[in-house]
Symmetry: C2
Subunit: 273 residues, 2 copies
């Protein structure tokens, strides 16, 4: 049976996993993301793939990549990344050329959401909203068991929904973006209760918009120790439009930990959707 490589590429770390057809991890490798140009990052990715391939005698058939940035899924291009040097970078074609593997390319939050929806905190929920709180906010949406990708695969960028008119400036060029008030970065300017408040406000809007079965909170802050969902649950019960007439979704922490992105990238490559 063939194996699949999954890569989760963030601004500081690259995590690679080698998984079998059941999604079980055969090998794993972590590397630091080099501070350098496009070529340096690409070389680091290839080194992780080579390391994983060297760990097995079995054939590797595909490579799935989840990358931190705006990913045009149809063309396999990273349009823009805040923490990596990519600008309209044809990453899928570059990695296919250098590895000889079939490559799929997705946004990192999309990959993590896929893993949580299939094997993690959202398993069995056709309508799942995934919100990853890290440096910024990553997101993804499942409707009827399928990813809501949008025209080019850019759906789920709700970290840049404006929540405060003329609010805090965001590196994306806008002001008042949700992730300026609700993320690891926001904690530099806010207390944890303030971040919890903004999480609840943002989730209220997303729940009104999507009516999900379950909201999965992932990313570095998406762990029970933060207590973030306790406040959000109270807020949703009291402040969701439609009030008592409207059922509220379950709010849960992600279950797969920091490997979710790499596992999801491998899964997307193995299954194609």
């Amino acid at each position: 049976m063939t194996l699949t490589v999954g890569l989760d590429i963030g601004g500081s770390k690259i995590l690679g996993v080698l998984v079998d057809g059941d999604g079980a991890v055969v090998a794993e490798h972590l590397a630091m993301t080099p501070r350098g140009d496009v070529r340096a990052v690409e070389d680091a990715l290839i080194a992780v793939v080579d390391h994983l391939r060297a760990a097995t005698d079995r054939p590797v058939s595909a490579l799935g990549v989840g990358a931190a940035g705006l990913v045009d899924v149809r063309r396999g291009v990273v349009l823009h990344s805040a923490h990596l040097p990519w600008r309209d970078e044809p990453l899928r074609a570059r990695l296919a050329e250098r590895t000889g593997l079939a490559v799929t390319l997705d946004n990192d939050a999309t990959a993590a959401a896929w893993a949580e929806q299939r094997h993690g905190a959202g398993a069995g929920a056709p309508d799942m909203l995934f919100v990853a709180l890290g440096t910024g906010i990553g997101g993804a949406i499942f409707s009827g068991g399928r990813l809501v990708r949008g025209r080019t695969g850019l759906a789920g960028e709700f970290g840049h929904v404006q929540v405060v008119p003329d609010g805090r400036p965001c590196p994306c060029g806008l002001r008042g973006c949700w992730e300026r008030y609700c993320s690891g970065t926001a904690l530099a300017e806010s207390t944890m209760p303030e971040v919890a408040h903004w999480l609840a406000v943002g989730l209220g809007g997303l729940v009104a918009t999507f009516d999900p079965d379950v909201v999965v909170l992932g990313g570095g802050l998406g762990v029970p120790e933060t207590g973030l969902l306790t406040h959000a649950e109270t807020h949703l019960r009291d402040h969701l439009t439609g009030g008592a007439h409207r059922p509220a979704p379950r709010l849960v922490y992600a279950a797969l930990g920091p490997r979710a992105g790499a596992l999801g990238a491998a899964g997307l490559a193995a299954t194609g959707h």
Copy 2:
């Protein structure tokens, strides 16, 4: 060939259409929504259906309803309506009992969006966002050619996303809801440029969230005479996260006019999805 009745039930008017298998309108009837209790509204609906059935000798097989309110599509229940007396009202079962027809029940904006996506301004666009500006904001989302309904069919209530912290009070019980700043009602407190600004801000968030092919603006203000999309287009080009690296969707006015809801309700009843 059998015919289908479509009803669009608003706070002030009830529009009924009788359509054939090609979606062509065979008969049409407009009535005022009575100011009264649940029974009075129900009697008015039955009168419209009877009127349309009397207009033909051909068999009528199904009744599709689009209702202004929070609709639990799975159970066929209007959970709550701002302008109609329904509270947890089992409207689908009531109308099925009184008409003897197979009945489908949807939110009115969902029905209008369906018609626009199949036969109107969004025809051929798999990923379509529908925003209806009337007394409030109605909405619906298509992803991959399918309606994003959510768990109970309540998706698309983005009129109640908070856009101003501690903002204008909304009859829904929240404050700062988008529709307090961007709707016909908002024009009582705002200039048209202010409404256009808030339309652009809200669409910016929704486009970041969904990455649609096309945004269709419907409802009473969704007509070219308002000029609302001119401002929104400029704003999206300059203020969408990802900037020049990200393709912007087409923004268009709805094409089917005030009959979209009734046509869509009939279409949903005839096709089942």
